[in-house]
């Protein structure tokens, strides 16, 4: 199980990657300074976007990322479906990006009693696989999501002079509360990020509910063989339906 480890106020996402890989990964983390933009995107300097927005006339900032396309091959038209490819293409998120994804994913889907958090069921790895995939829809999501990550960090620095992952939970939620609701009266500077965050939210939720623990939490009861005839709705489900039919005047 993956987790977010909190040690000496440093926070890092630890995936279920091999020990050798994770040592390499930790090495990268320890070499990273805390304050500079945690999300570096292939040479793009997101601070230019911030500078336009400093002062009290903030009408919004948006990192215009230029991402080089992912050119690796997909899994092709005849992959084994019995043993699906484990790592169909290289993952591309940096350790810092992955940690930010993990923090955000656990804000979206925190641990809830016995039900694990998004990070505890490897959601950041699924997000990484998704945004690293060579297909059109995923590359479009890659731009959306990497832009959102940069925006969130930039916003954290503008408001609190720290990277998002270094903020207190309270400070983090101050930002999230502003971007997590697509309301009609949403302030203009949050419209673009709220759309991008919404896409990220759906991806995180999908990855969470796909996991065995998430599937159980959602309540899906299928994918089990049934001997004999399909039993159909339960008595409880039929009672509910009959109530619905009554309410709608369809009984």
């Amino acid at each position: 199980m993956s987790k977010l480890i909190k040690e000496d106020s440093d926070i890092q996402y630890k995936s279920t990657i091999t020990r050798r890989e994770s040592l390499k990964w930790l090495g990268i983390l320890s070499a990273t300074a805390v304050l500079p933009s945690l999300v570096g995107c292939e040479g793009n300097d997101s601070t230019t976007a911030i500078s336009n927005a400093v002062g009290d006339s903030i009408k919004g900032h948006w990192p215009d990322l230029t991402l080089s396309p992912i050119t690796v091959k997909g899994y092709g038209k005849d992959p084994s479906m019995i043993i699906p490819p484990k790592s169909p293409w290289p993952k591309t998120l940096t350790a810092e990006q992955l940690t930010l994804v993990a923090v955000l994913a656990d804000i979206l889907v925190p641990r809830d009693g016995d039900v694990p958090s998004a990070t505890q069921v490897n959601v950041p790895d699924v997000v990484d696989e998704w945004v690293s995939a060579p297909y059109g829809r995923q590359q479009s999501d890659r731009l959306t999501i990497l832009s959102a990550l940069v925006w969130i960090n930039d916003e954290a620095k503008l408001r609190f002079s720290k990277a998002f992952t270094a903020l207190s939970a309270n400070e983090q939620l101050k930002i999230i509360d502003d971007i997590a609701y697509q309301k009609d009266d949403l302030a203009e500077e949050f419209t673009k990020i709220s759309r991008a965050f919404s896409r990220f939210r759906k991806l995180v939720l999908a990855a969470f509910y796909c996991s065995p623990e998430g599937t159980k939490d959602l309540g899906y009861l299928g994918n089990v063989p049934i001997a004999g005839d399909y039993p159909g709705p339960t008595d409880e489900a039929m009672l509910h339906l009959n109530q619905v039919l009554n309410d709608l005047g369809l009984a």
Partner: protein, 560 residues
């Protein structure tokens, strides 16, 4: 093929080819089958019980696997690598192909509705399109035989668009699910009946095939043989007679003729070596799919057949039809948070909405000539790469919304009949060849008002049903020309080698025998004279069984 004295060569191992092979092999005739794709064994290759979490991208579809990672289609989809097709100006057409033993029967929806008396004689009724060269009564006993052999679950409804099967033919259908029952109640209020869907899924064991255990989507293929595909049924059964041999990776290039213009051989590319192999053939059955068979005939040009084989009528490639397709979905507040139970069932429609408008048509109350049906999308589905609902916020509040929306969406998918028109056809693109040097198909497409009016009617009706279920629409319906799916997208392409009464305006007679070449038959959906809204596969198999039986009798009489 050495030491195998075959009488008939069949091109294609899907619905038509496999049924023809089975019928001939059972009648004692030796058959050699050529399949362009690779060998495929559902018993060992089907991803039964796999979850989306185990697949890349949570199983989501992409250009490699258009219908999702686990879709059974091998080496195909909307594009086949190195085997392109082209489209004419302003023509949108999509062509789904598979390159595998069993063809598209490995992944099809298994919906198996009989055509009715209305469907075979549309032209007599409204003057449009073409009649079939026989009545429903001619095909009815063959439907019974085919349904018995294939294994179809469903019931006799007595509805005018659903002819009854003979007593004891149909297997019992599964019980309907809650959202389907709600659709049924809403439709009933509007005077529209619903009915158990007929599907080629066993609910009782048959031959070596097990009954459905109501789990794991049929589109992945079915290792237990419950969901019909030729690779677990007709092909192994035909091989067991000793009268069928199959060569896979054999891409047919042409049907060849002797000095008198008589078809006497086929040339195929052995895809493993890239070499051409010429195969003598006494009788040839094309069942490569409507568009591949037409392509093959058009590519088999020679001095005797300058416009392509069997094309003296000029109709090969013409009259191309697909089903119309569109749909409307809605969130049904009354279904929010409903009690959860296992809604997998046989993983597709237990109920559907058959066409109800024959009487309205007769009274002239409809402004479009042909009917449609609705398929119902609903249920507590296995989680995948998408999460439905307009979800906001985070934390417990977010998860509560996701659970509230789970199983509360209903989608009505329209599938309708289109009429042939002069703008919808395929030809050979004289500038483009595939990897094997075979000239490719070029498609031309334009929906007519008939289809657009039908789709408009369908969108309104679907919205009415959903509103009756409590859905609210705070946006206008899309216009029909925006809402209608592209030509080919429903994967019901038919008509490109249509049958008829006369060599002047049809390619084959009522037995799929080409008018021009008595020993060349077509036994796929190319022979359809019209394209009723009811999904073509059951009728492909029924025609193949009937016509291969006729061919067998001709062979026995020494007529060919």
């Amino acid at each position: 093929m050495k030491n195998f004295d075959y009488e008939v060569v069949i091109v294609g191992s899907g619905a038509g080819g496999a049924m023809a092979a089975y019928t001939l092999a059972k009648a004692g005739h030796k058959v050699l089958m050529l399949e362009a794709g690779r060998d495929y064994d559902p018993k060992t290759e089907t991803p039964m019980f796999k979850t989306n979490a185990q697949a890349p991208l949570m199983g989501a579809g992409n250009v490699d696997k258009d219908f999702g990672f686990y879709d059974a289609t091998v080496d195909g989809g909307w594009q086949v690598p190195n085997e392109p097709y082209t489209t004419g100006d302003n023509s949108d057409f999509m062509w789904w192909r598979a390159r595998m033993l069993g063809g598209r029967t490995n992944h099809w929806g298994r919906y198996s509705l009989r055509f009715s008396e209305h469907d075979f004689k549309g032209k007599t009724r409204d003057g449009l399109g073409a009649d079939w060269p026989f009545e429903y009564e001619e095909l009815a006993p063959w439907y019974d035989k085919t349904e018995t052999l294939v294994g179809i679950c469903g019931t006799n409804t007595g509805l005018d668009d659903m002819p009854d099967s003979a007593e004891g033919v149909l297997q019992p259908p599964p019980k309907p699910r809650v959202p389907e029952l709600l659709v049924a109640a809403a439709a009933k209020k509007l005077g529209i009946a619903t009915a158990p869907m007929h599907r080629a899924v066993l609910t009782r064991p048959k031959d070596d095939r097990q009954a459905c255990f109501y789990a794991t989507p049929c589109g992945h293929g079915c290792s237990i043989g419950a969901a019909f595909q030729t690779t677990t049924s007709l092909l192994p059964m035909a091989k067991a007679t000793g009268n069928l041999k199959i060569i896979t990776d054999a891409m047919v290039r042409s049907v060849d003729v002797d000095e008198n213009g008589q078809a006497n051989a086929l040339t195929y590319v052995d895809k493993n070596t890239g070499k051409d192999i010429k195969l003598a053939a006494k009788v040839i059955i094309l069942a490569a799919s409507a568009c591949e068979s037409a392509r093959l005939l058009l590519n088999s040009k020679n001095a005797h057949h300058p416009n392509g084989l069997a094309n003296s009528s000029g109709q090969v490639g013409r009259n191309l039809m697909d089903s119309t397709g569109t749909g409307v979905g809605a969130h049904i507040p009354a279904l929010e948070g409903r009690p959860i139970y296992n809604e997998d069932g046989h993983t597709a429609n237990h109920l559907f909405v058959p066409w109800w408008g024959h009487k309205q048509h007769a009274k002239g109350e409809l402004d479009f000539p042909r009917g449609y049906h609705f398929e119902i999308g609903s249920g507590f589905r296995a989680p995948g790469s998408g999460v439905s609902g307009n979800l906001q916020g985070y934390g417990k509040e977010l998860k509560d919304q996701a659970k509230q929306y789970y199983g509360a969406g209903v989608y009505l998918a329209l599938r309708g009949e289109m009429l042939p028109n002069e703008h919808c056809y395929m030809e050979i693109d004289d500038k483009v060849t595939d990897k094997w040097g075979i000239p490719v198909a070029k498609f031309h497409w334009k929906w007519a008002d008939h289809e657009l009016k039908q789709v408009e009617h369908g969108l309104k009706t679907a919205r009415k049903i959903l509103e009756t279920m409590g859905a609210t629409f705070n946006y206008p319906l899309p216009s029909a020309d925006k809402a209608i799916l592209k030509g080919g997208q429903i994967i019901h392409e038919v008509g490109s080698t249509r049958m008829g009464e006369s060599p002047k305006d049809s390619v084959t007679n009522q037995y799929g025998q080409t008018w021009d070449c008595k020993n060349v038959f077509v036994m796929d959906a190319g022979v359809f004279a019209s394209n009723p809204h009811k999904n073509c596969t059951l009728t492909i198999m029924t025609l193949a069984m009937r016509n291969a039986s006729w061919l067998a009798s001709q062979l026995s009489k020494g007529e060919l």
